[in-house]
């Protein structure tokens, strides 16, 4: 089977997730080539063909241009699968290519099942097995779902170039707001999710974190609602943390959150929903109402 991987660079650097794509190809036992908009000194180490477009010339973020370049590579390779990371780059570009090819796209693949692809749905409470009907299919892979390949070997580089006009102008990157709290160094983090119910309850979580000698964090919905600052956000678009103890209060466990805290040594989840996906990752799931449990736990700590 032939498979075309679409690697990813950001600010001139190859992203490590590109090796997850190679790992996926190895798992399938497929013959892999890669398309990358990047630079030759940042080529991934693997044995196969690397179709390399220069990011300086065609733009690091230029999906309409990258689509044209990719279509050219697809014509040359005629792969059965074109595989992206399910990332801000991948979920933007993949449907453009799929549309042009009239190929099925399966998003956020976490597993392979007899030629069909398994994806999460309903906040990871369910899994859906999707089978493409088209001869060629486009996939995006969930971050972390497939073991990255070890960088080894050297690709045969084939430069690609095309008149790649952008339909939207990329002005530039903007760094995240100044960091107030560096959660990555905290040994204990108590995080608040939407399940805390209202803004005032953040103080209770913060107080619990203090009483335990740690910092408090928050999930995305809590930050979006303005209950906590962005510097408290744990997850793929916030901070990545690795504390010795992570206590998730009222956090259902969306993959974006799990990506930010899965390296925690010990995870406690407090949730009234016994089926919350966070339970899959938690060492201990406490099924309880936060309003009752947190004061009781504070009592125990201080007692």
């Amino acid at each position: 089977m032939k498979i075309l991987l679409v690697g990813e660079s950001r600010e001139g650097k190859l992203l490590g997730s590109s090796y997850e794509l190679i790992g996926f190809a190895k798992k399938l036992g497929a013959e892999a080539s890669m398309f990358l908009v990047g630079s030759s000194d940042q080529a991934p180490a693997f044995d196969g063909t690397l179709y390399l477009a220069d990011a300086g010339r065609c733009g690091e973020f230029n999906p309409s241009g990258h689509k044209e370049l990719l279509l050219d590579v697809v014509r040359r390779e005629n792969p059965e699968l074109v595989v992206f990371c399910h990332s801000s780059y991948g979920w933007d570009l993949a449907p453009r290519l799929a549309c042009a090819l009239k190929a099925a796209q399966v998003s956020e693949v976490v597993d392979v099942d007899d030629g069909a692809f398994v994806v999460p749905c309903c906040n990871a409470k369910l899994r859906r097995t999707v089978r493409p009907k088209s001869a060629m299919a486009v996939l995006t892979l969930q971050a972390g779902a497939f073991t990255p390949a070890e960088p080894t070997g050297a690709p045969q580089v084939v430069p690609v170039e095309a008149e790649a006009k952008a339909t939207a102008e990329f002005v530039g990157y903007e760094a995240s707001e100044a960091k107030g709290v560096d959660l990555s160094r905290a040994e204990i983090i108590v995080s608040a999710g939407r399940g805390i119910g209202k803004k005032e309850n953040i103080d209770i979580i913060a107080e619990l974190a203090r009483a335990m000698g740690g910092e408090f964090g928050a999930s995305r919905p809590v930050v979006d609602a303005g209950w906590a600052g962005h510097d408290r956000q744990v997850g793929s678009t916030g901070q990545t943390v690795a504390p010795k103890l992570y206590m998730a209060c009222g956090i259902s466990g969306a993959i974006q959150h799990l990506m930010g805290m899965k390296k925690a040594e010990f995870v406690v989840a407090v949730n009234s929903d016994k089926d919350a996906p966070i339970g899959e990752l938690a060492d201990v799931l406490v099924v309880a109402d936060l309003k009752e449990f947190v004061p009781a736990f504070m009592n125990c700590l201080q007692g």
Binding site: R10, F61, S87, S88, W91, D92, P95, R96, C99, K102, A103, A104, Q105, V106, S107, E108, V119, P120, C121, C122, N123, K125, L126, R128, T129, V130, R131, P132, K133, A137, T167, A168, F170, V171, Y173, E174, A175, E187, M212, G213, D224, G226, H230, S236, T237, L245, F266, V268, D273, E280, L281, V284, L285, A288, E292, F293, A296, F297, N299, L301
Partner: protein
């Protein structure tokens, strides 16, 4: 200015899901449905643009069974001017390509200057339909937007990237944007606006009137994920739970 905002109605994600009898989607009975969260941001942004430019008309569109009108009524109460319901009882079996084809066929001759969608749905999470509609209409698509301004017919949008970074994009109208959580603060419909919304036009079309494509993919199976197991589940009285948890933490971690 003509604005289209596409919304989906989804179950509350806190629900207890059951697999349907065909084993290919969730069982809809006993589920509470609401507007897809991402689409609430799309509706809010569309209404804000209308408030900014003054002379604009916002159409809210939804494809699905009769129940999706409830979500549309909320969008109308939030400030959309009119609704178009594309009645389709088979929506759950359609793939993103089919759904995008249906929306595109409706939108193709309407000359919308701006189309808003959510960046994905909470139930399927494919993150495809918005981009596909833009591609089919031949418009620029700006995706995963957490910042949006419109000035002299040019959009400046901030895309959310990993690790807290953003990418800044500019594109002229007409264009399509897909909205990420946190883009704005969706308003709550006020009672007077809920009353006003009842008088707004809500046109129903049958999906049969619109051109469809063949599905490119099919759902073979929906199932619960295998339990990883190993994790301890504690249930009971809060005071008792608190004591048990503290004991476990003192034994298993060395930080307390």
């Amino acid at each position: 200015m003509k604005i289209l905002v596409c919304i989906k109605q989804v179950p509350d994600m806190e629900s207890k899901f059951k697999v349907d009898s065909a084993g290919t989607w969730y069982d809809e009975s006993n589920l509470a449905f609401r507007i897809n969260e991402y689409d609430e941001y799309a509706v809010e942004q569309a209404v804000q643009v209308r408030e900014q430019v003054g002379d604009a008309d916002v159409t809210v569109l939804s494809v699905g069974p009769e129940r999706v009108k409830e979500a549309m009524k909320k969008a109308l109460a939030m400030g959309c001017d009119r609704g178009v319901h594309i009645a389709d009882d088979a929506i759950a079996s359609r793939d993103p390509f089919e759904i995008a084809s249906i929306i595109t066929d409706f939108a193709a001759d309407k000359n919308y200057d701006l189309i808003f969608t959510g960046m994905q749905s909470q139930d399927r999470g494919s993150a495809q339909v918005g981009v596909l509609v833009a591609e089919m209409l031949g418009r620029p698509a700006l995706t995963t937007i957490v910042g949006f301004t419109l000035d002299n017919g040019v959009i400046t949008a901030k895309r959310e990237l990993e690790g807290g970074m953003k990418g800044v994009l500019k594109a002229p109208l007409p264009a399509l944007v897909t909205c990420q959580l946190g883009l704005n603060t969706p308003r709550y419909p006020t009672l007077p606006n809920i009353m006003k919304a009842k008088k707004k036009e809500l046109l129903s079309l049958s999906v049969a009137e619109l051109a469809k494509s063949e599905a490119l993919a099919a759902t073979e199976k929906v199932a619960f994920p295998e339990k990883r197991g190993g994790g301890l589940i504690l249930e009971g009285e809060p005071a008792d739970l608190a004591g048990r948890l503290l004991g476990i933490l003192r034994e298993k971690t060395n930080v307390l």
